[in-house]
Amino acid sequence: MTPILELRNLTKTFGGRGKPLVRAVDNVSFSIETGETFGLLGESGSGKSTLARLIPRLIEPTSGEILFEGKPLQTLSGREMRTIREQIQIVFQNPFSSLNPRMTVRELIGEPLVVHKRASGAALDEKVHEMMRLVGLNPEHTNRFPHEFSGGQRQRIGIARAIILQPKLLILDEPTSALDVSVQAQVLNLLIELQRTLKLTYLLITHDLSVVRYMCDDAALMYLGTVVEQGSVHQVFTEPKHPYTQALLRDIPSTDPDQHMLSSVSLQMDISSAPWSGVGCRFSPRCPAAQIGECKTVEPPLIEITNGQLAACHLVKPAVPVRS
């Protein structure tokens, strides 16, 4: 079956012409199956947010392909893209800045209908109320402004706005990072519920590994613009192959007080004090594993290690013969 979204060698560079060249997204490829929840993991500087904006072409890719249901998006005209936008929607991270402070909830949630000329007047109100109920908001609040709602409720408004056109793919950029943990639980459960009833596919972008473990079927971990490990959530979390994945999993503070992780902190430096020279593996300046010559000179390709699990590391050898 055609994956609903496929990225092939997607690249985005900023700068050039006098300014330092930044490869925010470098040759990223992965695909998402219809109906699944795909987690894109990464910390600051990994390029995941840029990727989130590349897919609906809020930023233009420098090169590579974006295939939505098999059709390439990067070559579409503005008008064709607008039609596609009904099917790919995005929920932003910051519930405090992602909603226009001067629009009422009704205007915000109803706007997609107005823009795509789907409904107006009473029909629009009806649809807005329906969405509000669906996400757990009180329909009597349609004339209120975003700042009157709490963070969790604002995020619900953002979700309602994104699903009102019944998209097929929903990109969630750090949807719960700014929320308290109990509110996060509510929003995550809402998302699971909505996926079931509306048959959505999710691309969930976050730095929070526990959220990915809870929500996602498959995951890809990004570092400095490239995917360093990819596979099913079970594979990535229980048998991580890439040293970065292993380090991250070790570094998450566990809520079990008997698991002492502080005594074995793995990564010594942060990204900016150990910068990538531009040659070789991006992670090598910080890699705790014993490195071989190639690590500094050749960028490791993302190859399949075991069934469906990929990693980009010279130190990891595939268990099965390498496919193309």
């Binding site: 904006r53 995005i90 992602s98 001067r102 823009v115 009597e140 004339n143 700042h147 709602f149």
Partner: protein
């Protein structure tokens, strides 16, 4: 902040519903008014502005000597001191300074409104385009703006008047042309900032056109800044018009205008001090009033400032 409200009684009146719906806006307004009224100076500014506007609008109905405004000459009453008959005295053609000063208010305000309307229309449009689209478009527009800004308004007005002739229409035109760059800059800078905001990305993500994003999403957020600037500018626009009148361009005699009155009255200082002084006073009060109001409006319209 918001918890589910208690159930309302069935079938409330339409007004009560409207009240409930817009409760937050009403609260914001009340909060703004509260902040505004705490600042005595802004309230004074507001009152003065209101008084001046009323004067400007109703002037023809109550000025004591309307014929003096249109140019009647009464040499017998030349340069009479301020008295009960002539509150501000008379000028060198025997005309009542009070009536003329009041009528000049009307002219000044009308011109001020026109100047700002034109300036804002041009400036905001160009600034939006430059700020939103960036690149070459931005460079072209902003460099044009820079060029316009290097011309002192007075000189441009002189040039235009020299080319097109004297008169209030040409003066208004000249001033409008020199005023828009300020708004263009303001809007461009804000637009550049707002363009990166998440809610703009959100609008684009749902497929909104550029026009919609600019006018429906970004500009309403810039309205505050524009209104504040406009209220401050009004005083200075009036001042500029007076400056033109002072050097003899602008309003044609015998139309009354503060600037030309002050200019004409210079010869008679200090003996017939009233000729220049009263128009000058009115000008001063107008500029001051609008400045105070502008300051106060910033408090009223900015929802983010905290009350102390």
């Amino acid at each position: 902040m918001a918890t589910a409200p208690a159930l309302k009684p069935p079938n409330p009146s339409a007004f009560a519903r409207w009240r409930a719906d817009h409760a937050s806006q009403i609260t914001d307004l009340r909060r703004g008014v509260y902040r505004f009224t705490r600042n005595r100076l802004s309230v004074i500014g507001l009152l003065l502005v209101i008084i001046l506007i009323i004067i400007a609008i109703t002037a023809p109905l109550w000025i004591p000597y309307p014929e003096d405004v249109t140019g009647s000459v009464n040499m017998a009453q030349r340069l009479v001191e301020p008295s009960a008959l002539h509150l501000f005295g008379t000028d060198d053609a025997g005309r009542d300074v009070f009536s003329r000063t009041i009528m000049a208010t009307r002219t000044s305000f009308a011109v001020g409104v026109i100047i700002l309307t034109v300036a804002i229309t041009i400036g905001v449009t160009l600034g939006s385009i430059a700020g939103y689209f960036g690149g070459v478009t931005n460079q072209v527009i902003m460099r044009l703006t820079d060029i316009m800004l290097t011309f002192p308004g007075i000189f441009l007005a002189l040039a235009i008047s020299a080319a097109l002739g004297r008169g209030i229409i040409n003066a208004t035109l000249a001033l409008s042309v020199t005023w828009w760059p300020g708004y263009c800059r303001l809007v461009e800078a804000q637009m550049l900032k707002m363009r990166e905001e998440d809610f703009v990305a959100g609008a684009r993500a749902i497929g909104a056109s550029n026009r919609r994003v600019i006018f429906r999403h970004i500009l309403p957020n810039l309205l505050t800044a524009i209104i504040i600037k406009a209220s401050m500018d009004f005083g200075f626009a009036v001042l500029s018009l007076a400056a033109l009148g002072f050097i003899g361009i602008g309003v044609l005699p015998p139309e009354p205008d503060w600037g030309s009155m002050i200019s004409a009255g210079r010869r008679f200082i200090p003996d017939s001090w009233w000729y220049s002084t009263f128009p000058g006073l009115f000008m001063f009060v107008t500029v001051l009033a609008f400045n105070l109001l502008g300051d106060g409006l910033r408090d009223l319209l900015d929802p983010n400032s905290t009350v102390r």
